[in-house]
């Protein structure tokens, strides 16, 4: 079986074939990796590469999975290698307008920027109150504020688009 897998945005080709009972032949970008893999349960994979032991924990998150190795997360996406749609979409993600959405229901308490303002990556665009805490909603990229779709004092639902940065 052949997979195209992106890890934190970097693409790998992974080929996996059953060798013999419990053993797998695995190639990463064409290079063979000597490993012994056992699925402990649906969340945990025990991997022995050479004689190094790794516990890999899987966490579902949206359309990808996060895999944890030694307490460090890796965002992993599995793609159909016969289509380049996925890859193109991923590449596009870094350009173009970005939507700022509400991760949970809350109330807009303050707008920090106005449409047309320049914005740095990580700079706050507006302040949302949820779970009794005020939280700055930050721009994921450098650019300018294209639209603000909410007003101060407005209640928002999870998933609502709050602003667009381009």
């Amino acid at each position: 079986m052949l997979y195209e897998i992106s890890v934190d945005g970097k693409n790998y080709r992974v080929e996996i074939a059953r060798e013999k009972e419990g053993r797998w032949l695995c190639k990463l970008d064409g290079k063979e990796i000597p490993l012994d893999a056992v699925l402990a349960n649906s969340h945990a994979l025990s991997l022995i590469i050479g004689t190094n032991s790794y516990e890999i924990l899987r966490e579902p998150t949206g359309t990808e999975a996060r895999l944890w190795i030694q307490n460090t997360p890796y965002t992993v996406e599995l793609r159909d290698p016969r289509s380049f749609r996925g890859r193109n979409r991923a590449a596009k993600d870094h350009d173009g307008p970005k939507k700022l959405t509400a991760l949970m229901p809350g109330k807009v308490v303050r707008l920090l920027l106005s449409p047309g303002d320049e914005v740095e990556a990580g700079e706050g665009v507006l302040v949302l109150e949820a779970m009794k805490m005020q939280n700055e909603i930050k721009s994921p990229k450098k650019g300018s504020v294209q639209k603000i779709l909410v007003a101060e004092g407005e209640a928002v639902k999870a998933g609502d688009v709050l602003a667009i940065v381009e």
Binding site: L28, L45, I56
Partner: protein, 509 residues
């Protein structure tokens, strides 16, 4: 002893108190809001009473509904936990009126300690040290100049009616005093309708150290040692330890005796905590008294060997303290991490949602007080505290090592938590050297943990293996969840479907 106790709380503290009840042969009664029907504390209780909608004001903060549930269940006493109604004298009074024992201090003690000025007056009379300054507003700039010169710069101006940082100004030198005083006064007037401003010595990067006390209803009061609570985010404690690395036996005795005097001046009964600010010269100043069980009580329990919740219940049932101050021995060191559903890399943004997978640590020197389970959806309506992980050891180094080891074992999948932040804190040289103050966390770098070379490649291979070995499993680790739909679920299923589709297509090759 009581036969039945109602716990007027939720989350890990409700589970903690239910456990104490079970250990004492007392039937525990839970209450729950609509958002908490699937919560762990209901599963662990003998009885459960619905007390209204998700909003705390209409459920956990509603005195009438809680008293009503207690009456219907026949509970003889109510444990308030912390937060919610635990420091509300009206609730304590309502319990008494309903003939139900409130497990905590009297309304009078609570009221005395609840008001800043009343507490300060009583505490000053009892000889409790305060931050040097005026206890009421300064009348003029000249008076302010004299006071500030007397206590020495830097000083802090504070609104008498104040709170929440409004009407506060830090003044580094006399030349800045006039402008700051004018600004503080006008801000105080606008915020509170009262321009009274007083002056206190400013303490730079203070430590926050608190003393646990335990008092029975016959006037016997013990101090149980201090807790170091200097590691805070947004003025909320996240790491606490016992003992404090800077407190020696003599300082502990002096702080403890002050705490006992303060409690006795308030005719205090049951468990309570005196909070102190400590400056760089180890001078300590009364900050406030918390008239309830603290979140961080486990570190004191581990080091003293006493169960504070058992003792709260015993004291409320009329028992006398069975130990004397000179019999009490502190042994070892304990450190607690407050595990929150939040994203430390995104300004501690709360992260409610479904706990898709959960691996909990255990083993030597590890105590976990948790209120969650795999498959549970953390509601968005309440404080996002999930659990408290505590490491205990013969000394601070061993406690830290065990706690760090447990943090490496701990895994909460599906929502963001601050577990990674704790791993960073515990491996920080300043923490290891016990150089912590209330600004520690802000100093700690916010950069993500460095990824190890070669591990991205392992993640790629592992992703392929998950797809091959387990193609039909849902990405969501639990089969069952609550009936009501939650935001993240459909997205997760879409993700799972995509993985399955890709895996199946490949299997056809």
């Amino acid at each position: 002893m009581f036969k039945k106790i109602l716990i007027a709380n939720r989350g890990e503290i409700a589970v903690r108190v239910i456990r104490a009840c079970r250990e004492m042969g007392i039937a525990p009664v839970a209450v729950y809001s609509e958002a908490d029907r699937a919560a762990l504390h209901i599963r662990k209780a003998d009885e459960a009473y619905a007390i209204g909608p998700a909003s705390a004001a209409e459920s956990y903060l509603n005195i009438g509904k809680i008293i009503d549930a207690a009456r219907r269940s026949g509970a003889e006493a109510i444990h308030p936990g912390y937060g919610f109604l635990s420091e509300n004298p009206a609730f304590s009074a309502a319990c008494t009126e309903a003939g139900i024992k409130f497990i905590g201090p009297s309304p009078a003690s609570m009221r005395m300690m609840g008001s800043k000025t009343s507490a300060r007056q009583h505490m000053e009379r009892a000889g409790v040290p305060f931050v040097p300054g005026t206890s009421r507003g300064v009348a003029s700039l000249r008076e302010a100049e004299e006071v500030a010169a007397g206590i020495g710069y830097p000083v802090m101006l504070k609104a008498a009616a104040g709170g929440g940082g409004k009407g506060m100004r830090l003044v580094d030198a006399s030349t800045e005093l006039k402008g700051a005083l004018d600004a503080a006064r006008s801000e105080a007037l606008r915020a509170f309708g009262d321009d009274e401003v007083y002056i206190e010595k400013a303490i730079a990067n203070p430590r926050h150290i608190e003393m646990q006390i335990l008092a029975d209803e016959y006037g016997n009061t013990l101090y149980l040692g201090e807790r170091e609570c200097s590691i805070q985010r947004r003025h909320q404690k996240v790491v606490e330890e016992c003992p404090s690395p800077i407190v020696d036996a003599d300082m502990r005795r002096r702080m403890g005796e002050v705490a006992v005097r303060a409690a006795q001046a308030a005719a205090y009964a049951n468990a309570g905590t005196i909070e102190f600010l400590v400056d760089a010269h180890k001078n300590f100043y009364f900050l406030e008294m918390n008239t309830r069980l603290q979140v961080e009580h486990p570190v004191t329990e581990l080091v003293t060997g006493l169960d504070l919740v058992h003792w709260q219940i015993r004291i409320a049932a009329g028992e006398k303290l069975a130990i004397r101050q000179d019999e009490l021995r502190l042994r070892g060191h304990a450190i607690e991490c407050r595990v929150y559903a939040e994203d430390p890399e995104n300004n501690y943004f709360p992260s409610p949602g479904t706990i898709a997978s959960l691996i909990e640590p255990s083993g030597p020197g590890i105590r976990l007080d948790s209120g969650i389970y795999e498959g549970w959806t953390v509601p968005m309506e309440y404080d996002p505290l999930l659990a408290k992980l505590v490491g205990y050891g013969a000394h601070r180094e061993e406690a830290t090592a065990r706690l760090f080891r447990a943090l490496e074992e701990y895994f909460v999948g599906g929502i963001k938590t601050n577990l990674g932040l704790f791993r960073r804190i515990l491996s920080d040289p300043d923490f290891i050297a016990a150089k912590v103050d209330t600004a520690f966390l802000d100093r700690l770098l916010k950069s993500p943990a460095p990824q190890k070379p070669g591990h991205a490649e392992i993640a790629a291979v592992a992703a392929g293996l998950f797809a091959v070995l387990n193609p039909d499993s849902s990405m969501n680790g639990t089969n069952g969840t609550r009936q009501d739909a939650d935001g993240g679920r459909s997205a997760q299923n879409k993700g799972a479907a995509a993985w399955k589709r890709a895996a199946r297509l490949d299997a056809l090759q």
